[in-house]
């Protein structure tokens, strides 16, 4: 997502174009030829660039970086490697750091293919965590993105109350995820306002079935994820040149065509960014479940953790079954990497920068 920030063209830094001379010897005429190039080369820029002043302070840069490097190494790089390592160990004990050798079994165990030594078979991960997470991803990401896009286009086109409405749509961002999750569970209570308004008697939250409970959960996730998207889309929309729209107006292009043929392509960098970040976010959904259900499930039939997500599974098994938690974390990591990579590939042709 990060574009190159180094100005490639030195003219961005210097108003005047300084010619760069290069001398050569032409043997056919026995004269010295002076080649003149109007474009300053990269090298010329570098020697004139300000950063060269700091070139002597080679060690100083590392000194400034030291605190961050230590923290990143201890709390970011080492854990990453260590988690991957734990995923391949058998019965890792987090307190002592002991384990019974290396194995691939953790992955087959969480996927329910093999049993543990004591004969226990894991079913929650395949039965609940993966389908729930997958549902959240494929429902909330497109719905929230499309809704946010429509809202931002509408917000951008209105004159009155634009700022007020913009602030209102940003409100869900500045809330406590747990607190609002609890509010949603009150709204969707059996004797709550939703059942009252729609004259239904559906159990949405406590004791609900896996797919019914998905509705309030997805609604809540969409509700809370829209503000960020709107903010990004609006800043993108404000950067679009008005001339495109004026040209479309002269051609009497219909509104939906303007949206589809002008706005969406010109907004594609922001759309790609939003899609990638919200895909990653949706794969990691956890707090919404805690806020809404106060646990990994609605505790309906059998009391299974029927609303468990992948991340929920990781946290639940962290203490007792560290190896399985690490395997689930690696599983999630691979999924996210694959999804991000796919989106980058798919967008290469379609995104206009």
């Amino acid at each position: 997502m990060v574009a190159q920030t180094e100005p490639k063209n030195p003219n961005e830094l210097y108003d005047e174009v300084r010619p760069v001379y290069e001398e050569g010897y032409d043997s056919s005429t026995n004269t010295v030829v002076r080649l003149v190039s109007k474009r300053a080369s990269d090298k010329a820029y570098r020697t004139r660039g300000i950063e060269d002043l700091g070139a002597r302070n080679n060690w100083k840069g590392w000194l400034y970086l030291a605190p961050v490097l230590i923290l990143v190494a201890v709390f970011l790089i080492y854990p990453l490697i260590n988690t991957i390592f734990i995923a391949f160990t058998e019965n890792y004990q987090y307190a002592s750091g002991k384990f019974d050798g290396l194995t691939f079994k953790n992955f087959t165990y969480i996927l329910g293919l093999t049993t543990k030594d004591n004969g226990a078979r894991e079913t929650y991960f395949v039965k609940y965590a993966i389908p729930n997470t997958f549902l959240i991803v494929i429902v909330t990401v497109p719905v929230a993105t499309l809704l946010a896009l429509l809202i931002s286009v509408a917000l951008n086109s209105i004159k009155w109350f634009q700022k007020v409405l913009q602030t209102i749509f940003f409100l869900p961002y500045v809330t406590n995820a747990i607190a609002v999750g609890m509010v949603f569970s009150v709204i969707f209570d059996q004797t709550g306002v939703i059942n009252y308004l729609f004259h239904t008697d559906i159990t949405w939250i406590y004791g609900a079935n896996q797919y019914t409970a998905m509705i309030p959960l997805c609604l809540y996730i969409v509700w809370s994820s829209i503000p960020f998207k709107i903010l990004i889309f609006l800043s993108g929309l404000q950067g679009i040149d008005k001339q495109y729209y004026q040209a479309a107006q002269i051609d009497s292009a219909p509104k939906w065509k303007v949206l589809w043929k002008i706005t969406v392509p010109l907004l594609s960098p922001q759309i790609l960014y939003i899609l990638i970040t919200s895909f990653i976010g949706a794969w990691k959904e956890y707090t919404a479940v805690v806020g809404l259900f106060n646990g990994p499930g609605t505790y309906g039939k059998g009391g299974d953790p029927n609303m468990e997500t992948i991340v929920y599974y990781i946290y639940e098994n962290l203490n007792q079954n560290t190896s399985a938690a690490a395997a689930a974390a690696v599983f999630l990591f691979i999924i996210i990497l694959a999804f991000t990579g796919l989106q980058f590939l798919a967008s290469k042709k379609r995104v206009h920068y």
């Binding site: 990060v2 574009a3 920030t5 300000i50 060269d52 700091g54 302070n57 080679n58 100083k60 840069g61 970086l65 961050v68 923290l71 990143v72 709390f75 970011l76 854990p79 990453l80 260590n82 988690t83 734990i86 987090y94 750091g97 809704l147 509408a154 209105i158 409405l165 209102i168 749509f169 409100l171 500045v174 995820a177 747990i178 607190a179 609002v180 609890m182 509010v183 949603f184 009150v186 709204i187 209570d189 004797t191 709550g192 306002v193 308004l197 903010l231 004026q246 509104k255 960014y273 939003i274 707090t287 106060n294 962290l318 560290t322 690490a326 974390a329 990591f333 996210i336 991000t340 920068y353």
Partner: protein
């Protein structure tokens, strides 16, 4: 005034053809829809069209705004209702009797001040640490030149892609090995466990580096001529100039601490050491006599947790929205 009106670009408005003065030889292309209509009719149709589109846009926006606001409204009115009214068959959109006593009760059951204090302590110290490390690293990345700088920065950016859940498992083990987690944990150890792992953020380093890069080179040169060291240039010139970004980082960090749930839940051994989100979710608002959760009390507690964030938003709206929005701007 007259000059201005004549200077408006042609593109601003549609041009209309006066039919009466058109000769057959003039090259005018009319669209099929507009054929046979007078200029006034077309203009009127367009105006009506415009009004309809505007009204529809407002209906769409206002309906969604209502949905966005509704949970907040419901939270507040439920917090002021009696339990009977909350569970009654006909839901009321305003409490029959306003029960301020719900709040009094909640402040007794829900240890709001302890959680609030913990949250503020953790927020302040993790913000200070983050700001220090971020400023130093951003300065190194933006202004100093040393071997390996670009590759280190690239590695940093790549780590942003890694889900935090990957790190939680090992970080928990690390923090435990420092002796900060355990059954005989002290308050200070709990604070350390909640603060130190969050003393750095790659994203904020990236944000501040972009900001530092925009500061003109001339200032750096002038400081060099004056014999200022890099260190004093950083704190006397760059940090004040980047103040808006630093304020954004501070507020976002505070909001992050206010919202953090998973990590404090993992590393603390006692309920008293936890943060506001944990307190809210784990506090029991069950009525002793009836044995059911009192939604009135529960919602009063959520109001108490939400209001500080809202106040922060009201006062620092500009910084919050800028800080969040900058995440999406390329470059």
């Amino acid at each position: 005034m007259k000059n201005e009106s004549t200077q408006t670009p042609i593109l601003e408005k549609k041009r209309y053809v006066d039919f009466k003065n058109v000769k057959v030889n003039d090259n005018i292309v009319l669209s099929l829809e507009e054929a046979g209509k007078t200029v006034d009719a077309i203009k009127r149709a367009e105006k009506v069209n415009h009004v309809i589109v505007t009204i529809l846009t407002y209906i769409f926006i206002l309906a969604l705004a209502l949905i966005v606001v509704f949970p907040f409204y419901w939270m507040i009115i439920t917090s002021l209702k009696q339990n009977d009214e909350i569970h009654s068959l006909t839901q009321t959109f305003f409490p029959n009797i306003v029960m301020w006593s719900n709040y009094v009760h909640v402040l007794q059951v829900f240890d709001f001040t302890t959680y609030m204090f913990n949250t503020i302590v953790v927020a302040i110290f993790s913000t200070i640490g983050t700001l220090l490390t971020t400023v130093l690293a951003a300065f190194a990345f933006a202004r100093l030149r040393f071997k390996g700088r670009d590759s280190v920065f690239a590695v940093f950016l790549m780590t942003m892609m890694i889900p935090g859940e990957m790190m939680v498992i090992s970080n928990y083990i690390t923090v435990a090995s420092f002796g900060w987690v355990g059954s005989n944990q002290t308050l200070i150890q709990a604070y350390l466990a909640m603060i130190v792992p969050f003393w750095t953020s790659v994203f904020y380093i990236y944000l501040l580096r972009q900001n530092f890069k925009q500061i003109p080179n001339e200032l750096y040169l002038a400081a060099k001529v004056d014999g200022k060291s890099d260190w004093s240039f950083l704190w006397k010139v760059m940090v004040p100039l980047a103040a808006p970004t630093l304020i954004s980082i501070t507020i976002l960090k505070f909001m992050g601490t206010w919202n953090s749930y998973v990590w404090p839940n993992l590393v603390t051994s006692k309920a008293d050491y936890r943060l506001i989100s944990n307190g809210l979710r784990s506090s029991s608002f069950v009525d002793v006599d009836a044995g059911v959760t009192e939604y009135g009390y529960q919602m009063a507690a959520t109001v108490l947790v939400t209001v500080p964030l809202f106040l922060l938003f009201v006062f620092f709206r500009k910084y919050i929205m800028k800080g969040v929005g900058r995440a999406g701007i390329k470059g």
